[in-house]
């Protein structure tokens, strides 16, 4: 029924069968700095999860006889003004800092992706309104709004937003950092709206929801993944900043930020109380940024056609 010339295509050069994920991994693994960043991030995450196994102390255990101990065999990172073990507090504080980071990224990615997809795909006045809202969010001083919102949330005293917990902080940070993501996703959606595969889906009769979820989102996802990784670093810094100012997670629960703030007065006499939490913030931010950069290169569609 189909002539033999057509069957010749079976023997035509078919490119090597390799899944998209495998391609991405191949490129990602080629970037050593990115791999190192990923390894460090995963190590810290693992250490923080396994905190009770890595230390004999608890984070809030006072030992007034042992105040301001410099790093030693018993206290790897020394002790603070109340004799608490800093290594232990760094581990447990990391749980909060990382959770806040991940949660707020989850919020900002969800909001940003939704806004970006709708804005880019529908265009017109919907796009104008959403992007003006994003502009408003970008133009207000972030720290000020963060503080006001957190104070307001506390005042309402909702059961799941109790003071001292990290949920409201993550929520607020997330709600104030979706704009970058939404712009990336919007640009991608705008571009893909005119692509022929989107037109093909419309000719088939696919609904807008189907086109957005099956055709546009997967092709915009790489920008979202990269934005998420880079946003994680930003969120950790935001949480640290807030906690440092005293609007974050309340003492005695440790986070890297409030550990830093608690140590202001002793920074010259007992520098280790500040160095270690600060170092952790620095390391994780650098590691996550390298991971994100490398991921972006690996997911870059311009590399896809290369063999």
């Amino acid at each position: 029924m189909v002539d033999s010339a057509l069957h010749a295509t079976h023997n035509e050069d078919v490119r090597e069968h390799r899944s998209l994920v495998a391609n991405v991994w191949r490129r990602f693994s080629r970037n050593k700095i990115g791999l190192a960043g990923t390894a460090i991030f995963l190590m810290i995450a693992a250490a923080v999860i396994a905190a009770p196994l890595l230390t004999p102390y608890t984070p809030t255990e006072l030992n007034l006889l042992n105040r301001f101990q410099p790093p030693s065999r018993e206290h790897w990172m020394g002790t603070d003004d109340l004799g608490r073990d800093i290594w232990t507090r760094v581990l447990y504080g990391g749980r909060i800092s990382l959770t806040v980071g991940l949660l707020s990224v989850l919020v900002s990615i969800s909001v940003g992706t939704l806004v970006g997809l709708v804005s880019g795909y529908y265009g017109g006045w919907i796009d104008s309104i959403l992007m003006r809202i994003a502009d408003v969010f970008l133009s207000v001083p972030r720290l000020f709004v963060l503080i006001v919102l957190i104070t307001l949330l506390r005042a309402w005293d909702l059961p799941w937003l109790r003071p001292g917990t990290f949920a409201p902080i993550a929520l607020v940070i997330g709600c104030l950092s979706w704009m970058g993501v939404s712009r990336l996703i919007r640009a991608s959606a705008l571009e893909q709206r005119g692509r022929e595969y989107t037109l093909a889906a419309r000719v088939i009769g696919a609904s807008d929801a189907r086109i957005l979820l099956l055709h546009i989102l997967p092709n915009a996802a790489s920008s979202a993944i990269v934005a998420a990784t880079l946003g994680l670093a930003g969120a950790i810094i935001s949480e640290s900043g807030l906690s440092y100012l005293g609007f974050g997670v309340q003492l005695p629960t440790p986070t890297w930020g409030n550990m830093l703030s608690g140590t202001q007065n002793q920074m010259t006499t007992a520098p280790w109380t500040a160095i270690f939490p600060g170092l952790m913030i620095f390391i994780i931010v650098v590691a996550v940024n390298y991971m994100g950069d490398s991921l972006r290169d690996a997911l870059d569609p311009h590399h896809v056609e290369k063999r």
Binding site: M1, V2, D3, A5, L6, H7, T9, H10, E12, D13, V14, R15, E16, H17, R18, S19, L20, R195, E196, Y197, L199, A200, A201, R202, V203, I204, G205, A206, S207, R210, L214, H215, P218, N219, P301, V304, E305
Partner: protein, 327 residues
């Protein structure tokens, strides 16, 4: 011969203007008249070739007919139903009858979907096949377009341009449509592959009784595949008739110039062949000339052509043209 066949698609006074908005408040300052009042029929089972230079509105015409673009005015009747008024579910049902093959086989397949899910998408959207039946249908379609059914779980980037275009054809065939709008389906393929794809399309047409609207700018290829041909210039159809008639006896001066550009594969005739070279460029469709829109480049334009628009009329049975010069 053509007149006896019934019309599958009736395009009537179809217009598609893209608004030009300028300034802060996006004031409407004009229109790009991409398709400006075209009317013609596409007969059941035929291939209607549509030719014209870049920017003349052929792609827009195709996309408006299939309702990828909303028409500015006019109507498109498919099987006597006016699809330009349909909404929601009715429109979706209508989509089953008309499909499209795209120009760029690299852009028309979603790079994140397997070939199997690309071809299965129409089946899923219209809920016509599920599970095992769906898989079998996908494999059958792949076989039909000359691809190995085993390719279903591969991704588009693993295929060559010709193979990808076959995948696009399989997707268009999935719902057994009546009409397929082919938007320059072969222009981005290697010449050696073009013939294969065109042959495949012709075979499929015979097997499945398909009707094609074949948009292209390669005149010899269009001549090969078409039963009738429409020539577009600046958003308008200037001439439409049987393919042999349009080659042997073109009436519109633009068609004459176009046809004189087709090389003849006979050195003796080719030596003697007179070419009509058109001066100037295609005018902007945002500011088409007053009167006949071809008057800026027409070698035989007369006074009348700058004052009034020539009517698009049937000068002999089955031969439509829009020109004052034609008696």
């Amino acid at each position: 011969m053509a007149a006896e066949r019934e019309a599958l698609v009736q395009v009537r006074n179809l217009k598609k203007y893209f608004p030009i908005n300028r300034g802060v408040i996006q004031r409407h300052v004009g229109d790009v008249k991409a398709v400006d009042d075209i009317s013609f029929d596409i007969l059941r089972g035929e291939t209607l070739g549509m030719v014209g230079e870049s920017g003349c509105g052929k792609t827009t015409a195709g996309r408006t007919i299939i309702r990828l673009y909303e028409a500015t005015s006019g109507s498109v009747l498919v099987n006597d139903v006016d699809i330009s008024k349909l909404r929601g579910g009715e429109l979706r049902q209508m989509r089953r009858q008309m499909q499209m093959i795209f120009q760029d086989p690299y852009a028309s397949l979603n790079p994140r979907m397997t070939v199997g899910s690309i071809i299965a998408e129409p089946l899923e959207v219209h809920r016509v096949a599920f599970g095992k039946e769906k898989l079998e249908r996908v494999q059958e379609l792949l076989r039909l377009v000359g691809l190995n059914p085993y390719f279903a779980n591969r991704y588009p980037h693993e295929f060559s341009g010709g193979q990808r275009q076959r995948i696009g054809i399989a997707r268009a065939l999935a719902l057994n449509p009546d009409l397929i709008v082919c938007d320059e389906p072969i222009s981005s393929l290697d010449v050696s592959i073009q013939a294969q794809v065109v042959n495949l399309m012709e075979e499929l047409q015979q097997q499945m009784g398909l009707t094609y609207l074949f948009i292209a700018h390669d005149l010899s290829m269009v001549r090969h595949i078409s039963d009738r041909m429409a020539v577009m210039y600046l958003g308008k159809v200037v001439e439409l008739t049987d393919r042999d008639e349009i080659y042997l006896n073109p009436l519109h001066p633009y068609t004459q110039a176009l046809m004189s550009a087709v090389p003849v594969p006979d050195p003796v005739i080719e030596e003697e062949r007179k070419r009509i070279i058109l001066e100037g460029d295609l005018p902007s469709p945002a500011h088409p000339p007053v009167g006949c829109n071809f008057n800026t480049r027409c070698p035989v334009a007369m006074e009348q052509c700058f004052e009034a628009e020539p009517e698009y009329r049937e000068v002999k049975p089955g031969h439509w043209v829009a020109c004052f010069r034609v008696p």
